[in-house]
Amino acid sequence: MMLSLKLAYRNLVGAGLRTWLNVFVLSFTYILIIWHYGIIDGWNLQAKQDMKDWETGNGQYWQQNYDPYDFFSFEESHAQIPQSFNKAICDGTITPVLIFQATIYPEGRIQNILLKGIDPNQKIISLPTDEMNVVSEEIPVMIGRRMAKNCKLKEGDITTMRWRDVNGTFDAKEVKIVKVFNCNVPNVDAGQMWIPIKILQEMMQAKDEASMFIVGENHEINYSVLGWEFKSYDYLMTEVDEMIKMKKIGGSVFYFILILLAMLAIFDTQVLSIFRRQKEIGTYIAMGMTRRQVVGLFTVEGAMHAILAIIVGAIYGIPFLLWQMKIGFTMPAGTDDMGIAIAEKIFPVYGGGLILFTVLLVIIITTIVSYMPARKISKMKPTDAIKGKIQ
């Protein structure tokens, strides 16, 4: 093996530009795969952290009829706050959220919205709810920047809101945008308006009711509250996990094409090598190498492209990857409106597993691709190979 490595290294370095071209293509494959997976993993971490900070907390209790994907369920999905939650609410380890639908009329246009009532003094999620602690003739509400952009609303704007309470009575009042907050989580922003929960309960004739509770730190989960179901943090992240999984699968197609191109270059080089170096192969056999050794030598030669690519990739790749980790990757304009939690800048995260997996994957595939054409050597007649006769 050591001999094969030594000879393969000599042959590769001796082959000059052809080797370095292949090595560069392979190293580019390494770096791109590691970088892209790093971006997706970084996005995954950021998205989960942002969702935890802004939306889910450490989990949620849902009223048994509550289904965030079914707007028609909101009318039925609120209930009295269980007494067993009162202490936790007082301690600030959970906070109730009441959800209803309403209509606003910004600049005279009709806009259906989701109205979410929350305690302005809550500290569980990062929403700047305390901004709603103002005395105003109008109802103080806050919205996210996406909502502000879509409805052409800004801080200080006043618009009419119309709603239907639990008894079916319609009512309307002016609301004032006291805060436009900036966050990466569309689930707390797009099409939504946040309002102090007490005001919403009053508006909807739903005194002391809630649709769900957001759970903070140090809360002991109670799984047996009648009419309420606990949804864990992991459950609430299922959507993100699925999306990341899909992104990775989508990315795999890209890697497959990239690896395929690199492997095509290696395969082509190997086929060309075996075709052009028949005399050399014959000479190796004449000098006492077994066919197996020659096949091994050519396989190692091909596989060594992947090893050299690690070295070359490390030279320019490590500074690039570290630089990206430091400054982040600015997401293209428009990704903000994709409806998924995504920061303006994604900071890639490179795990040891990711790097090891990528390196091993490329080495294994390169070795297989190198071995396939090299098998032809074992069928060559050495007497013809010595003369360089095409076989």
Binding site: L3, G14, K279, G282, M287, M289, T290, R291, R292
Partner: protein, 232 residues
């Protein structure tokens, strides 16, 4: 010179398939070679010289008959055992030199020693000795593309001789060389034959080589026409 037999060939036949039939390249060859001989198989193109050398070199196997080389029946050797036989005991010199193009002169000559797993220092000494024998010590770092034909063939000789094999097989070693280079090369081989007692077997139809031979085997249409020991 010792008179021990190192190659014994009896009733050797070699046929190559051509279309639906066969071409008989060697037809009933009986020969033997002793240690230290400087012999040549001569004859016109297509007479079977190279085929005979290939069988002796265990690169090919006979269709019929027995070829016993250095105590091993070529017909019964596995490809691995044949490779080991060549690796340990044989050197090859080819018409087109067959040097490894990306290796330097030193590395080309060193190659057979790497296969023998010699130590670094032993290898270096052996290569330097071989370079001295063929007189190209100044070209140690050159690559084959930077050498003349004569120099390439010297490297090939050094490569064949560096492990001091029992047998060197040379197939038309001077065919690509001018007269002066041919004589220099042949003189080198004669000296090595005397000095190291290596058996040389040539396949040639070059008169320049034939002049140096101590034994001349004439092959025609796959048969031995004459076999003469030359004493001068």
């Amino acid at each position: 010179m010792e008179n021990s037999e190192i190659i014994s060939i009896k009733g050797l036949v070699k046929r190559f398939p051509i279309g639906k039939g066969y071409f008989t390249a060697l037809n009933g060859i009986d020969l033997s070679f002793d240690k230290g001989q400087f012999a040549g198989v001569v004859g016109p193109s297509g007479s079977g010289k190279t085929t005979l050398l290939n069988i002796i070199g265990s690169l090919d196997s006979p269709s019929e008959g027995v070829a016993n080389v250095l105590g091993q029946d070529v017909n019964k050797l596995s490809t691995k055992k044949a490779a080991i036989l060549r690796r340990k005991h044989m050197g090859f010199i080819f018409q087109t030199y067959n040097l490894l193009p990306v290796y330097t002169v030193f590395e080309n000559i060193e190659f057979p020693l790497l296969l023998l797993k010699m130590s670094n220092s032993e290898r270096k000494k052996a290569v330097m000795d071989a370079l001295d024998w063929v007189g190209i010590s100044d070209k140690v770092k050159s690559r084959p593309a930077q050498l003349s034909g004569g120099e390439c063939q010297r490297v090939a000789i050094a490569r064949a001789m560096v492990k001091k094999p029992a047998l060197v097989l040379a197939d038309e070693p001077t065919a690509n060389l001018d007269s002066e280079n041919s004589y220099n090369i042949l003189q080198t081989m004669v000296n090595l034959n005397k000095e190291l007692q290596t058996t040389f077997i040539f396949a040639t139809h070059d008169d320049k080589v034939i002049k140096y031979l101590k034994r001349k085997i004439l092959l025609e249409d796959g048969k031995v026409k004459s076999d003469n020991i030359i004493t001068n």
